[in-house]
Symmetry: D2
Subunit: 138 residues, 4 copies
């Protein structure tokens, strides 16, 4: 018996509860399905560095949450953990909100790998690209 | 004429001012020289996820700051920016403080690459390994 | 004055001459433009491991050549060198030919970053994904 | 009952048989234990690119074989497969032989992660650094 799919609201609530950073940075889940996880970094404190750019660790958090939302929708596995993540910072991210969209590359029995594109919502410019692998608990 | 070396205090103050996340997460710079950047993640709010482990983005921030401190000491280049970073989460990081030690792999004219080992201070267990490349501004 | 664009034939000949591995593995350049580099791994010796799968280093070579062809078309910079490359082997690659398609993520003044998707030509299955950064010589 | 340890000769023979590229490139296994895999790229055809440097895919192969030798010694698991590998090319590798030394970062039940340093044997200069994760079959 496959466990029942999580609703977007359940996914959002689980992330807000289990990852305090998501709330701290004002990250919200916009969409989560078997083929896509989509999250937004809204306006907020803490996320910029001097000069006004959005800090790298915040973009990392955004990519990580986008993949986690995708895994929750595709596998209902809240105990999945990040094995490794590679992030390329392509150009300065200067304008909030940012959008991160995760797409599956491998949906295996034990490992889940996804790529993430991070864009500025208003300009649609690509600011970062990430690839991450997660270990599934099942 | 080579610009004068930054003192540890100057490096610490520059990071505290320019990277609000460093203060938010309670990251301090312990040591910075041409061959080593060493930073500590102390006790604090915001850094754990449910279950008690230290969140991945916080470890990413720690690795990023360790390399930045190394670059400030070795190159006095506050405008250096992260090009890409790969992080492997090797085992759950359960106990604060964490220590991150960055060592140079390439100290080129335009690119600086370093590796970082993150350990739990009390157990000395290795919890994460990162490799990052930065573009120098000079 | 921008140097004149290289033709596909010039790109193919340059790669065959400067990268003996490309000929050894039977890698040919199918397409090269500012937005796409596309190469094929044809039938040949040396490329499989026991069990019949196409060896990881051969897939790495294919990704590397796809990005190099893209850079030759987009930047006419034969002296570009690989800074780093991350490759994810998503599932066994069992059937030749393989196709690798490189797309630009960053086309900067000093750095060029691209992603590559490697598929089996006949099944169209995605077998590997890579992200690579190159230092431009100009 | 733990399977018996493989001897260096068994590891060398297994690699020579199962990875035709290792022989093609003249890669030999110098040492393999639970804490270290050490391999050498000797003189040979096919491994240079124009200009005389050792080609990136050959260095990738060297890193991959070093980790595989380490896993054979530490886990006796010939069916281990590469999940992902990140390689940084730090400076041109101009002089053969090259040495690659792999050290374990994670020796888990399902995943094995190692880092590799590639040096020129005669100059001892570090030319590349890699980090790779392998899925164990057991």
């Amino acid at each position: 018996m496959t466990p029942e799919a999580w609703t977007l609201e359940q996914i959002h609530d689980h992330i807000a509860t289990s990852l305090p950073l998501a709330s701290l940075f004002n990250i919200t889940v916009l969409e989560a399905s078997e083929v896509r996880g989509r999250v937004r970094l809204g306006h907020g404190e803490h996320v910029t560095r001097s000069g006004g750019g959005i800090a790298g660790p915040v973009q990392f958090a955004l990519a990580d949450v986008a993949i986690y939302a995708l895994i929750l929708a595709a596998r209902r596995d809240p105990a999945a953990v990040t094995v490794d993540l590679t992030i390329n910072f392509l150009r300065p991210a200067m304008t909030l909100p940012l959008l991160a969209t995760a797409s599956p590359l491998r949906a295996g029995r034990r490992l889940f790998t996804a790529e993430v594109r991070i864009t500025e919502e208003t300009t649609t410019r690509l600011v970062a690209h990430a690839t991450g692998t997660y270990a599934l608990s099942a």
